[in-house]
């Protein structure tokens, strides 16, 4: 494979790598006729992102097509190494004129060469590992709800949440309003944690197609990475979602670039028609001014007894880990698989999110499943 990126697109590539670095530790590259695909997945398999750069994005693009009937070459590299080449975006913009990416099979090296001002050339030789295809199973067409807005609107909304916040709940309310609220896990935490909620009006979105009362909870950290990219590139962001538990898909579309971010969502034990008990607040809509704020009875209780009023909400839902179905299931459906490594540390969201399906692979643009394709779950040796 050989490709050359020139001018302003080098920075776009750099930003894409930054965005992917918020997801996982390894960057997967797959050059195809449709373009160069960069992908990442997080260790708990609950977040997947892919950036597909069309051939037009490049000054020169030679995927190094395989012989017919063989699969495309695929490899993965350490995210840190790849990111290191594009670490400083301002200096990329200022001094890099061209970027060359070259795959040297025999030397087992991926070469990244930056041609900078004043005749300076920086060459990075990265070790790569061949790998299987990384593809999450999702279908934006089957999602019942869809929101489309300029990325800036969502970026402005997300800024009100603290940078360390793990999960956020996106919901739909009456009057077409969309709410964002930080997610608090336990009832016990609720009396100690600040809860932030904001509402976005329907006219801030370019299009809104939602089923009322729907609500999903997903991890903010990975979403923020995509938002930064989208805002900088001034693109429209589309959010496809469905019931809680099914993944939410964020897409950005451009003439030369196609971006997907798939995040797992928390599922409810109860059906979505019931008001969600998790946050203990009945989801009354718009922030009305005159809700009950009478604390008299509370004070009486406080002064007569030592204990404070306990909140009597229903218990928060737990997330069942269902046993995996057989591999022969319909590829169109989203299968579920236990997270093999329940003890994966650190990466939000934690194991309560179901893993995405890296099950039967859907060939892009092609319906149906080639029966000979294996069920691929990306668990090569040495991965945690």
């Amino acid at each position: 494979m050989k490709c050359v990126i020139a001018g302003g697109n080098v920075k776009v590539l750099g930003r894409a790598v930054h965005s992917l670095s918020r997801i996982g530790d390894e960057l997967y590259l797959e050059p195809t006729e449709k373009g160069l695909s960069l992908r990442a997945v997080n260790s708990s398999r609950s977040a997947f992102a892919s950036f597909l750069f069309a051939p037009l994005f490049f000054q020169l693009y030679e995927p190094g097509g395989p012989a017919p009937d063989t699969e495309h070459f695929r490899c993965k590299v350490h995210m840190k190494s790849f990111l290191g080449v594009f670490r400083s975006l301002p200096s990329l913009e200022k001094s890099v004129g061209k970027c060359l990416i070259l795959l040297k099979h025999r030397a087992s090296r991926l070469v990244l060469q930056l041609h900078c001002k004043y005749g300076v050339t920086k060459t990075h030789n990265l070790a790569f590992q061949e790998c299987e295809r990384l593809q999450a199973v999702f279908d934006t067409q089957s999602c019942s709800s869809r929101l489309c807005a300029p990325a800036r609107v969502l970026a402005d909304a997300v800024v009100h949440f603290p940078p360390t916040l793990a999960e956020v709940t996106l919901g739909t309310g009456p009057g077409g309003k969309i709410s964002l609220r930080n997610y608090v896990e336990d009832e016990a935490e609720l009396s100690k944690t600040m809860v932030t909620e904001l509402w976005l009006a329907e006219d801030e979105f370019q299009s809104v197609t939602v089923s009322p009362g729907s609500r999903i909870t997903f991890c903010l950290k990975e979403f923020r990475g995509l938002l930064t990219f989208a805002e900088a590139s001034n693109l429209l962001l589309t959010i496809h979602f469905d019931e809680p538990g099914r993944p939410v898909v964020f897409t950005l579309d451009d003439t030369v670039l196609e971006v997907h971010l798939v995040l797992a969502t928390l599922s409810d034990l109860e059906s979505s028609s019931l008001p969600p008990p998790t946050n203990g607040v009945s989801h009354l809509p718009t922030p009305a001014d005159d809700f009950a704020d009478d604390l008299e009875s509370y004070m009486v209780a406080l002064e007569s007894s030592a204990c404070e009023g306990a909140s009597g909400g229903p218990p928060s839902p737990t997330f069942p880990l269902r046993t995996p179905r057989t591999a022969q299931s319909d590829p169109e459906e989203q299968e579920e698989e236990e997270d093999e490594d329940g003890a994966v540390p650190g990466t939000p969201p934690h194991k309560k999110f179901r893993s995405l399906f890296f099950g039967s692979v859907l060939t892009p643009g092609g319906p149906g499943l080639a029966p000979t394709q294996e069920v691929l779950a990306e668990d090569s040796d040495g991965e945690c």
């Binding site: 932030t196 604390l295 002064e303």
Partner: protein, 288 residues
């Protein structure tokens, strides 16, 4: 028990945010006392040695356009709440361009201060962001714990040097020692001293000026007749002092330090700016 307040003016909002930021840097939790005209942020730390307590008083009229409060009972028209100032600081952080900020005490599933920030947005209606900050209601029987600290008899009262300078001096000293000795006299001289086995460092400040205290009952008794040159000294935890100086976002018009060198040994820094008074007491560490 009700409380509702509203800030509409951006300058007032920024000032209020700065006060909250200062408080949040000084302590993790504190008590908010609401009366009809004033707000108080109180930290009463009962630790005997090296502990700190704080009393910050604001006139509500300087910040709020609307301020309605109904206390626990008619004779006790006050509200005492325990809260984490950092939450309030975070809620106000993204409110720079707000049209209005409303604060209200509510009790949905637990007592909360609901901060509703109304922001301009591109759509026809403004964007409203609400932050529910959990608070603890402090029952009347322990209100006595939060009384205003009485000004103890002090030996020396002196104006502090420019806080920025003092802060950079103390920051460097912090790397060398855990304790710092502040000594001052009635001639406007103040020294900051640290001493370790290897080194001792003293920074001298001159011509600081001593505030005149109206002769109140018992207030100046120990200072009267005192030798102008003789230094009163206080040994305190340097980290607490550094925390106080580093957290300052409000530029005080007057900052002064009272040293009481007695058995109880309390040092007090009292700062004023037009709108608020911040009183910070550091109790002294016993010297060897």
């Amino acid at each position: 028990m009700r409380f509702r307040a509203k800030i509409v003016d951006l300058a007032c909002l920024n000032n209020f945010s700065r006060v909250i930021n200062t408080i949040s840097k000084l302590t993790k939790t504190c008590t908010l006392r609401l009366t009809v005209c004033k707000l108080y942020f109180i930290l009463s730390d009962k630790v005997a040695n090296g502990g700190a307590s704080m009393w910050c008083e604001l006139c509500q009229g300087n910040f709020f356009d609307e301020f309605q409060m109904e206390g626990v009972a008619a004779e006790h028209n006050e509200i005492y709440l325990e809260l984490v100032p950092e939450n309030l600081s975070r809620a106000l952080k993204t409110a720079h361009s707000a049209k209005a900020v409303k604060i209200k005490l509510t009790n949905k599933h637990c007592p909360c201060l609901r901060v509703a920030v109304e922001l301009p947005s591109l759509s026809s209606s403004s964007r409203i962001v609400t932050h529910d900050i959990p608070v603890g209601v402090i029952p009347r029987r322990i209100w006595n714990d939060f009384r205003e600290p009485t000004m103890p008899d002090f030996d020396v009262s002196i104006y502090l040097p420019v806080l920025k300078i003092m802060k950079s001096v103390v920051e460097r000293m912090k790397n060398l020692s855990n304790f710092i000795v502040i000594e001052a006299n009635l001639s406007g001289e103040m020294n900051l001293k640290i001493e370790t086995d290897l080194v001792s460092v003293t920074t001298h400040f001159k011509d600081l000026g001593n505030p005149p205290w109206a002769s109140e009952e018992g207030c100046q008794s120990s200072a009267q007749g005192r030798n102008l040159e003789s230094m009163a000294e206080a040994c305190i935890d340097i980290k607490k002092l550094q925390q106080l100086l580093a957290g300052q976002q409000v530029n005080p018009t007057k900052a002064l330090c009272n040293i009481m060198q007695r058995v109880k040994r309390r040092l007090k820094e009292r700062q004023w700016s037009g709108d608020l008074t911040l009183l910070y007491l550091l109790s002294l560490l016993p010297s060897d």
